[in-house]
């Protein structure tokens, strides 16, 4: 499958760029970040300070190149060092605590939004000009609303005023502890409803509009006219002839939009005080916790790259031309 191999190579390049950016940015900044950190957190061990210097530059740690190589090594072994604000907790354990929350919430909500949006888009495109289609401008208002603002409004209305759903946190800390028991899962789900709802509402319109546009173009293609000429049942024409082909550009768009989806979700978590990466990032930023910031950036980037790769694989599965194009090279 040469296509997938090429995409994988591309993502590796992108990952390398991200890592290198991570390495050079602190060194390119004015001032000495290490010094400011040490000033803020006087109880760091000399080892920790050395590790910081390796990560951020400054100090005498050997040539730039050797620092880079060591840094690369650390990244590949997921050794992000010790956290500063919560010294001496290692960064990786902080990440391990929060990633599952974000992944589940954002992953599930995004898939639901994409599926719903695409399905509605198919119908809106098929009945181009019908009521569903004409409702799009209204839905687009929702898309223009920043995730976190809608979150604020929802929390205010549903949580504070109406008390229907909890106003924050990932689970009811007073009642249960994390674990695979029913009480915890139920509480977690209850707390996830509002955040997930926010994500779905704000992104559905975008997916729907995109799919509707592609459907309209696809319906104009000769093979759809031919399918109708063949007297095929409408359902077959809509789904197997039109939608199946329209799905391909739609999936590509999904891959491209993943970065934005993740970004929006991060900030939204802050509003809900959801115990995911977003909240962790906020805390890291406000406390100048550089190792954590760097690690979070890398983790988010890698996740998006992996998700993109998965989308690429789905596209290959659905589009026989892609496989062929690479095979004949």
């Amino acid at each position: 499958m040469p296509f997938i191999v090429r995409r994988l190579a591309f993502y590796l390049v992108a990952a390398w760029v991200a890592i290198t950016a991570n390495f050079f940015i602190p060194r390119a900044m004015p001032g000495n970040p290490v010094e400011s950190v040490v000033a803020k957190y006087p109880n760091l061990t000399p080892d920790a300070i050395k590790a910081l210097e390796l990560m951020l530059g400054g100090g005498q740690q050997g040539s730039l190149w050797s620092q880079y190589v060591t840094y690369l090594g650390h990244v590949f072994t997921f050794n992000f060092g010790a956290d500063i604000a919560n010294f001496p907790t290692p960064v990786s354990s902080l990440l391990a605590q929060t990633i599952p929350w974000t992944l589940t919430l954002v992953g599930v909500a995004t898939v639901i939004a994409f599926a719903a949006g695409t399905g509605l888009g198919i119908l809106a495109g098929w009945r181009h000009g019908g009521w569903l289609d004409r409702s799009l401008p209204g839905l687009m208002f929702l898309q223009a609303v920043p995730y976190f603002f809608l979150a604020l409004v929802l929390v205010d209305v549903v949580g504070v005023e109406l008390h229907w759903l909890p106003t924050g946190q990932g689970y009811n800390g007073a009642a249960t502890q994390p674990g695979w028991d029913w009480a915890f899962i139920a509480s977690a789900v209850q707390h996830a409803v509002l955040p997930a709802f926010t994500i779905v509402i704000t992104s559905v319109a975008g997916w729907m509009l995109q799919m509707r546009n592609v459907m309209i173009t696809t319906i104009g293609e000769d093979y759809v006219v031919a399918a109708q000429a063949k007297g095929l049942p409408s359902r077959r024409v809509i789904y197997t002839y039109a939608a199946r082909n329209a799905l391909l550009p739609q999936l590509q768009g999904f891959g491209l939009a993943l970065g934005f989806v993740v970004s929006g979700a991060l900030v939204m978590e802050i509003v809900f005080a959801y115990p995911g990466i977003g909240l962790l990032l906020l805390n890291a930023v406000s406390s100048d916790d550089y190792p954590l910031m760097q690690a979070i950036f890398l983790v988010i980037t890698f996740t998006v790259l992996v998700a993109n790769l998965i989308v690429d694989m789905v596209i290959v599965f659905f589009d026989p031309r892609v496989r062929a194009r690479e095979a004949t090279r």
Binding site: V225, A226, Q228, G231, T240, Y241, N245, P320, R321
Partner: protein, 343 residues
Amino acid sequence: MSPILEISDLSVAYRTPAGDVRAVEQVSLTLNAGEVVGLCGESGSGKSTLAYGATRLLRPPALITGGSVRYHGRRITHGGAPADILTLSRRELHALRWREIAIVFQSAMNALNPVLRVRNQLLDAVQAHLRLPGDEARDKVAGLLDLVGIPRDRLRSYPHELSGGMRQRVMIAMALASDPEVVIMDEPTTALDVVVQRDILAQIVELKETLGFAICFITHDLSLLLELADRIAVMYAGRLLETGSSQAIMRDPAHPYTRGLLNSFPSLHGPRRELVGIPGSPPDLRDPLPGCPFAPRCAHAVPACGAVDMTLEPWSGPASAPAEHLTACPIVTPEASRKEVLS
């Protein structure tokens, strides 16, 4: 000669905010069972619009503004009388399409679903109308490929894996899936090179002889029709200018436009002569001028051409019987054109 598809006074327009574009204007054409009728005209003459309009496959803003299209098939009737396609409901159209009237599209690459295998697309065509049990359907599909001379292992291919000629054959095979009475072929060989063209045309003729369907062959290439068609109809600016047997048209073209067409390609035999095209370009169909649309480009035009009502009248030239050879030009008469008969 029993008629199988009878188009009477069909008019099709595209309704735009700027007004109606009259793409087809009162065309009457009859297709008899088992016969090949060639529909000839340049781009924009309305020949495809006529064919797709007759089967109601045109998309908005197309609108059929008048006429009738009666189908005289034996399998499907409307209470004993021929069914007028223009009055059929959607469900009835589904039954009629493909089963009775099939279409071979111009560009097979565009007319085949890129993500479905050939086998599945053929199965779709078969099962939409025949509802056979699984094995029988698969056998039938394989048999269809045999009919057009494609190896059976191509069933598993996708359209982009086939050559141009093969794709067109698949289109033809698909058209024949439910044994139609009429096959409309819309410039099926235009996109192919000459050698492949030859093969496909030969195949089409052979299939027609075997299975006995009527063909409406649409093309801009009159030379093709002279060999292939039994009768030819010449269209221009949405109107029929001339109809007749291909013999008659070849030997004794009645309408100045047809003569122009015949003059514009060289013959392989006979003395060399100067090639003459037809100067000018087709008219804007939004505001058709009264009378004959070809008048602005016609060498024989006279002021009276603006009042011609474009009905087809018999022409009795030396090579044709009047009833079968019709022309819309009352100006060019057999006497006047004796000197201009082609070599």
